[in-house]
């Protein structure tokens, strides 16, 4: 059993409870053990960095320092929230890039009897661990209720594939990891060019008009392409798209009804888990109707048809890089 | 003592990049610390670590090794060999009880006269901070310099 350290982040205790529940439900079938960091604190989201530099990084680094104490052979710190993931990874990265910052942060940590040597931990997002450690093959083996017939828009958001200090993802703009995972679960993944567009972040709180515009782009884009629901990997994305969808509809006079589920909830469903176990039903835009597509009887999965099959006209260039690699990431390595 | 200490430094340059950088610094009349005396080699790959030890044992307080940037060596890749020897040499110096910082490797292209000048001045200051080279017993342990200085006898 692979042991990882877990930094759950504040949302998983509150607005993203469903993420926590569904994550718990899939751990056992996938044979992963997550050990929560004791007494972790908030990472400061995108707020603290804009007020004070050293306190902001010290706040983040306290978690890294606490995690090191619990390492015991585990090197990976997993964060399910993209914002938390980025903050933790960023602190680790910048403490190395600017040693002066590292020294100051450690001076502050020393006031609490703590210390963090940058580079000690491998900070990774949950999706990264599931795709690259557990692997799509292992996940596929656990699928008992393929999601065939369910049209899903894969939504990766911003802070996961960008800035991507350690080159963990296939691409900054159109990464295919979430898409690949959903396909393994049997879902009909729609072509969703907005997969890494922004959900508005904290703008729902401070500049709602800006946020509504961004939410609308995402929801409208998924709706136009026939998605039954959107799969997310981040509590903030889920909150913005789900909880503010109603207000957004009011603002624009639209009537979108786009359920937003965590990818772990979809994994749980595909693994045959009970919706209750996965926190399904806690979303404000109900997914009941969408899930009816996989509800009763699972039809035989039709072969996915090529997205742009062309019999005539000029040939399309292959999406593979010229050196035969699928991703920039592999090409660089 | 270190306040007034003027270090003496031997600098090795390669014929194609760093010596030309020094030439350029001259042509452009850039001023830098006068403590470094240069030796021209064809390539930094020619640098035998013995040269460095000889310089340090003959009275130099520091040694500056310069060459073309990685990937720009006029002999294709010999500067990488200089780099490897340099890293090894630092370990040897440490073993001898000499501060490894007394030897520094600097890449400078033929166009980088300004870099050559500023790096030289910076290195002189670093050596000034370290103070005069104090060999202590280390000089006796030097196995590499077997040949005694002969010319003294000629003159004597």
């Amino acid at each position: 059993m692979n042991k990882y350290l877990l930094y759950p982040g504040c949302s998983l205790e509150s607005s993203a409870k469903a993420y926590a529940e569904s994550l718990n439900a899939i751990l056992e079938p996938l044979d992963i053990q997550l050990e929560e960091i004791e007494d972790w604190n908030c990472c400061g989201a995108t707020e603290y960095l804009g007020i004070n530099l050293i306190p902001a990084y010290s706040l983040i680094a306290r978690n890294l320092a606490l995690a090191v104490k619990q390492m015991d052979g585990a090197h990976t710190l997993v964060a399910p929230c993209s914002a938390c993931y980025l903050n933790l990874a960023k602190a680790d990265h910048y403490m190395q890039e600017r040693p002066a910052l590292g020294t100051k942060v450690n001076e502050a940590l020393a006031a609490g009897g703590l210390e963090y040597k940058p580079g000690t931990l491998d900070v990774r997002h949950l999706l990264d661990v599931l795709i690259y450690d557990v692997g799509l093959d292992a996940i596929k083996k656990k699928v008992t209720r393929p999601l065939s017939g369910l049209k899903v828009a894969p939504y990766m958001g911003c802070m996961l594939p960008r800035p991507d200090y350690k080159h963990r993802w296939s691409d900054h703009e159109h990464p295919t990891e979430l898409e690949d995972l959903l396909r393994v679960l049997g879902a009909d993944v729609i072509d969703y060019p907005l997969t890494t567009s922004c959900c508005g972040g904290h703008m729902t709180q401070i500049g709602p008009e800006t946020a509504f515009e961004l939410i609308c782009r995402l929801v409208a884009g998924a709706d136009e392409r026939g998605a039954h629901l959107m799969a997310t990997v981040c509590p903030m994305c889920q909150l913005n798209l789900d909880a503010y969808q109603g207000e957004m509809n009011g603002y624009f006079g639209t009537d979108y009804h786009m359920p937003i589920l965590f990818f772990t909830q979809l994994m749980g469903l595909a693994f045959g888990k009970d919706p209750d176990e996965l926190g399904i039903g806690t979303e404000l835009v109900s997914s009941r109707q969408a899930l009816m597509h996989i509800g009763v009887e699972v039809p035989a999965a039709p072969e996915p048809t090529a997205r742009r099959k062309k019999e005539e006209g000029l040939p399309m260039p292959s999406r593979l890089l010229r050196n035969g690699h699928k991703h920039e990431k592999e090409a660089v390595r | 003592m270190t306040e007034n200490f003027e270090p003496t430094i031997i600098g090795f340059t390669c014929n194609w990049c760093s010596y030309r950088a020094a030439d350029l610094a001259g042509t452009a009349r850039m001023k830098y610390a006068p403590n470094v005396r240069l030796i021209r080699l064809m390539c930094s790959g020619r640098l035998d670590p013995t040269f460095v030890l000889r310089a340090l044992s003959s009275g130099a307080d520091g040694v500056m090794i310069t060459g073309c940037h990685p990937g720009e060596c006029h002999y294709i890749e010999q500067n990488y060999k200089a780099l490897r020897r340099y890293l090894l040499l630092k370990r040897v110096l440490k073993g001898l009880g000499i501060e490894p910082e007394r030897v520094k490797l600097i890449w400078a292209s033929a166009a980088e006269g300004a870099k050559f000048a500023s790096e030289t001045t910076a290195f002189v200051e670093e050596i000034r901070k370290l103070g005069p080279l104090n060999w202590g017993k280390a000089r006796d342990q030097l196995p590499v310099i077997s040949e005694p200085i002969q010319r003294e006898e000629v003159a004597a």
């Binding site: 530099l53 911003c158 800035p163 508005g200 703008m203 709602p208 515009e213 207000e247 | -």
Partner: protein
């Protein structure tokens, strides 16, 4: 000699000391900002999902930093509109750490008390206040304080959402507090001291 009127300053005839502005921002940014490398190509302004709401595109802001237009930069709403999506960061051909520069500009604007609309700074400060008190975020507390002050008119529209969140158990009514609050406070106290002295 003509007088240095405000208009002249704005027209680009700067006082000499302001030419250090770019360097100051660069030094206050985490990591290596590479701000001086900007070639004004506009990749950032083109990439920004929220550019329409900004008074200056990030690119213009960087040009203004070069020109030493301290007040104008710190009054700009651009850093506050930035949603930290990092599109500009990964696309920037000069690898400028744009998002981190935005954080720096926010903190400088707060300190200089120059940004006019206090909604965003207040939200950040309220959020940070919660974290400094409890060690964890507290959405309900944050939301109630912030919305009551800045968006009272939004509240009716949001009521169903808030109600839904609470009834579905997604918004706890009481904050959670970490165990070693004293330790966290000590760390932050030292960090703030270091911030002021550096």
């Amino acid at each position: 000699m003509p007088q240095m009127t405000d208009e002249r300053v704005r027209a680009g005839l700067m006082r000499e000391e302001d030419l250090s502005l770019l360097h100051e921002v660069s030094m206050k940014t985490a990591g290596v900002s590479r701000l001086e490398m900007c070639i004004q190509c506009g990749t950032c302004g083109g990439s920004c999902p929220a550019a329409a709401d900004m008074d200056h595109t990030p690119r213009m802001l960087f040009a203004m930093l070069r020109a030493g237009m301290r007040e104008e930069v710190l009054r700009s709403n651009t850093p506050w509109i930035c949603v930290s999506c990092y599109h500009c960061v990964v696309r920037c051909p000069q690898e400028v750490h744009i998002a981190d520069v935005m954080y720096t500009l926010k903190s400088m604007a707060i300190r200089a008390k120059l940004y006019q609309d206090s909604t965003a700074p207040h939200f950040s400060q309220t959020f940070v206040g919660m974290v400094e008190t409890f060690g964890r975020g507290f959405e309900l507390g944050l939301a109630s304080r912030h919305y009551l002050r800045y968006f009272p008119l939004r509240l009716p529209g949001m009521a169903p959402m808030g109600f839904g969140m609470i009834t579905k158990g997604r918004m706890p009514l009481a904050p959670r507090k970490i165990k070693h609050m004293t330790q966290l406070k000590a760390i932050l106290k030292r960090a703030k001291h270091l911030e002021l002295t550096s």
